[in-house]
Amino acid sequence: MLSVFEDQIVQVSDFKKRMKYWLDVVRQTAPVTIAQGGKADLIIMRRADEAIHAKILDYARLVARFLLGRRQGVESQALPWYKHLDAGEQEEFMAELLHCFSDMVQTGDWQEFACLLQDWQATAESNLNPELLAALETPYRPEEYIPVERPVVEV
């Protein structure tokens, strides 16, 4: 994942002269910072990269709020479903959360992190459904299996 800290700095006059070249640099390699009047405070970067940065920042804020709340021993507002996980699941979740968060920061792949949160939320909410838990505990007896036919929808 490229960041603003891997940019190239270009004078605005050079940028104007070779605009296509510099835009290609941005598209194909790294962001470009524009310097003008002694200041280098403007950057041109790929929109998709900025979207990734924004997403990672959102998740970083979420994780920080979650960890802070946990440290203070208060119910999590950041991940309200966390309390429904049992003690063992909470431990598993913490390990996976930190591992996946670290991966996301390294690679920029925030989708995997989003899946992790979605999956653990579903896992937590399953604990609110005693009928489901009982069904999952029921042993498999292939002689009891019943084939499922494709339902027909009447139009």
Binding site: D119, T123, E125, A135, I146, V148, P151
Partner: protein, 91 residues
């Protein structure tokens, strides 16, 4: 010919499925189509979630609609989808 055969784990699962079908026939048909072809994939619309804890690993949730869910496991060797539970789910 579908890729996966689908079965109910038992009569209770079948009863839950039938009740959802009465409420949302189109949603159940869409669910059946998903289960029969791509039960292990992530639904692009976010309808599926894979349980993560050791105790429940392998269980997949399919959201039929806001209230109803189908939970299933997949026997990969037999290309068999086993519906464990179907019914309303608290949020």
């Amino acid at each position: 010919m579908s890729k996966y055969e689908i079965v109910f784990k038992n009569k209770k699962a079948q009863k839950g499925w039938d009740q959802i079908r009465q409420r949302d026939a189109a949603g159940v048909q869409e669910c059946w189509d998903w289960l029969s072809e791509t039960p292990l994939q992530r639904h692009p619309g976010g309808k599926t979630s894979m349980f993560r804890s050791q105790r429940k690993r392998g269980v997949i949730e399919y959201r039929v609609n806001y209230h109803d869910r189908v939970f299933y496991t997949v026997d990969k060797e037999a290309d068999l989808v086993i519906i464990e539970y179907a019914g309303p789910h608290p949020k």
